[in-house]
């Protein structure tokens, strides 16, 4: 048991990676065997992550050195800097890993029945597992170059998944836009890594954070990293790839891409709070205010654009853009506020909102997928009166829309109230805009709810049936999590969010875990 936890950081990557390449072999034998295998693997990985999480909450940061004679041997021999690829897992990393794996698991359940009639699924599962590996790797790694590699794995695999429906021109177009923009972004990340390596001869995040001097080149590297990662996180006005990609991918892929976007946001947080964290109190306020401004812009553009969309998935995608703004505002407020008390509250809200957003938006996309599955239709003008035929789906959509619009007592409200109250202390205007946008979001989803489910039955939708059980189970998992998070927000905050926030606001412990033991 103990040794499993010791090796779990590596296993979290290795098991899905191994499974990714077994699935094409398995699918030659039997379809169901492959689907079941993927589910078992993802469930096992999730379990492993939970075990690791428990250990981290009890014993603090865990590190894993690949290929060393001991998992904790960061400085072999007389080395003064850490060599080898090191995984460093603190509260924030494991928080993000839990998000990614939960979503991957739900996506696998959902796709096992969503794609029942389609071919080419062996590749699909390989890519889905690779996206999982990429996300988890980004979140676990303590090495900047390794971060880049996993970032690229995530973007390549998710691009291939977005183009899964190759017969739809829109999917191809979205995938092409996604790969162009993300490969350019990733190249600038690599450039920034080069700048930092050239200065400090290190790639380890902890070692770099320890020696960072805020020279001109460091600032250039910060700019490149920030620009590329905020773009990958979908912050306005660089959000335009996001509605395309979210809207045109198969819904089970979309939720994986949503989680991958959050992994990029994790990158932003890691860069701002840990890598450049030593000068946090002095220098980062300007970055914080920029992030707040961009966050407000993101919320505003996302929400207002969602109102005028005609495609169901695209509307939800723009709402997802808006939701990202809240997290960015939380992080930006924490940076701008410096040492004041509400900085932690803002950060708590922002970090908690990552999980909530993935659950809410994920549930909405799954419902959208169910509607597409049942009706083969995604134009809002051609849909209506589905409530009589698809009762469970209606309930799930109602839960999702209330959660995403931040209605009490669901989870969206719990994190948004933290953001509202802390930003109000920084500047009331921020929270007023945030609240108004949230109300507008509710209005949008009431509109969608009305045009999808209410009203009289439309003639071409008379023979619509409820979707298969697998999809309902996937939606039910997310809905249950939403309700649990909504009813016990204090408990969730104390258990998983507080360690994450503590890890962010205390970069020294991250540095000392690697360098202090030397």
């Amino acid at each position: 048991m103990n040794s499993i936890i010791t090796h779990s950081p590596a296993l979290l990557i290795a098991i899905p990676l191994f499974a990714a390449f077994i699935t094409p072999l398995l699918s030659r034998i039997h379809r169901r065997a492959r689907d079941g295998f993927v589910l078992i693997v993802l469930a096992a990985t999730e379990l492993l992550a939970l075990l690791l999480a428990q250990d981290i909450y009890a014993n603090g940061i865990r590190k894993y050195v690949f290929g060393a004679t001991l998992p904790s041997l960061t400085h072999p021999g007389t080395m003064s800097i850490p060599v080898r690829i090191i995984f460093e897992i603190d509260g924030l990393s494991i928080f993000m890993v839990l998000i990614s794996l939960t979503i991957a698991f739900v996506a696998a359940i959902y796709s096992s029945s969503f794609f029942k009639k389609e071919d080419g699924l062996d590749r699909y599962y390989t890519l889905l597992l690779l996206v999982t590996v990429g996300m988890v790797g980004m979140e676990l790694t303590g090495d900047l170059f390794n971060f880049f590699v996993f970032l690229e794995i995530t973007s390549i695999a998710s691009c291939a998944l977005i183009a899964f429906w190759v017969d739809r021109g829109e999917s191809l177009e979205a995938a092409f836009k996604y790969i162009v923009i993300s490969s350019i972004g990733a190249l600038f990340v690599l450039m920034a890594i080069g700048f930092l390596y050239g200065q400090y001869d290190a790639l380890n995040i902890a070692a770099l954070a320890n020696s960072i001097q805020f020279t001109f080149i460091d600032k250039v590297a910060l700019v490149l990293l920030l620009a590329a990662l905020t773009m990958k996180a979908g912050i306005a006005p660089m959000h335009m790839w996001l509605p395309d990609a979210y809207g045109e991918a198969p819904p089970s892929v979309t939720i994986a891409v949503v989680a991958a976007t959050q992994a990029s946001l994790y990158g932003v947080l890691r860069v701002c709070f840990t890598l450049y964290g030593k000068g946090l109190r002095l220098n980062m306020a300007a970055v914080g205010w920029t992030l707040i401004g961009l966050g407000l812009l993101t919320i505003f553009i996302g929400v207002t654009m969602a109102l005028v969309q005609r495609s169901l998935t695209r509307t939800i995608a723009f709402a997802a853009v808006g939701e990202i703004g809240y997290m960015v505002i939380g992080a930006g407020t924490a940076l701008a506020a410096g040492a004041q008390n509400f900085a932690t509250v803002a950060l708590k809200g922002g970090v908690f909102h990552i999980f909530n957003d993935v659950l809410d938006i994920g549930l909405l996309f799954l419902v959208a997928g169910a509607i597409i599955y049942a009706t083969k239709e995604r134009d809002l003008n051609n849909l209506g009166g589905l409530a009589k035929r698809m009762k469970c789906t209606t309930v799930f959509f109602l839960i999702g829309l209330l959660a995403v619009a931040g209605m009490p007592p669901l989870n969206g409200f719990a994190s948004k109230i933290l953001i509202y109250e802390s930003t109000y202390q920084l500047n009331p205007i921020i929270s007023i805009i945030a609240i108004l946008s949230s109300i507008l979001l509710l209005a949008i989803f009431v509109k969608i709810f009305y045009s999808l489910f209410l009203g009289p039955e439309l003639p071409h939708l008379r023979d619509v049936k409820e979707v298969p059980k697998g999809m309902l189970v996937a939606m039910a998992i997310l809905a249950t999590l939403i309700i649990i998070f909504g009813l016990f927000p204090g408990y969730v905050l104390q258990t998983i969010v507080d360690p994450a926030v503590a890890a962010l606001s205390n970069p020294t412990s991250y540095i000392n875990a690697i360098l202090g033991g030397a």
Binding site: G169, E173, V180, L187, L190, G194
Partner: protein, 119 residues
Amino acid sequence: MIYNIPYIAVILLIMVGLYAVVFKRNIIKMVMGITIIESGVNLFLVTLGYRAGGVAPIFTNLPEERQIPGQLVLPIPQALTLTSIVIGVAVLALMLALAIQIYRQYKTLDVTKIRRLKE
């Protein structure tokens, strides 16, 4: 001064690549632009790893007069470059495959006409 020439080449390559991505209408040319940016970044990494008077860190038939490990360069930038090249190949293949499929669906490679997704 002579050591700075590669850095100038890096900037030029990235500028050329970005020019191709931003101003060319043919998506194959945009793909080329991305590849040129990638070459620029790779050149940057390799240049970072250059040390005057250093030799490659390979023990096989190393000249005897070289000091070990003093004059051997640390091969990390080269390793990074190689990884980046491998990733670049994957991205390139994916983008070209997408370009072929897009051409089948849209009957054009003009990026201004490949915009069913807007607003």
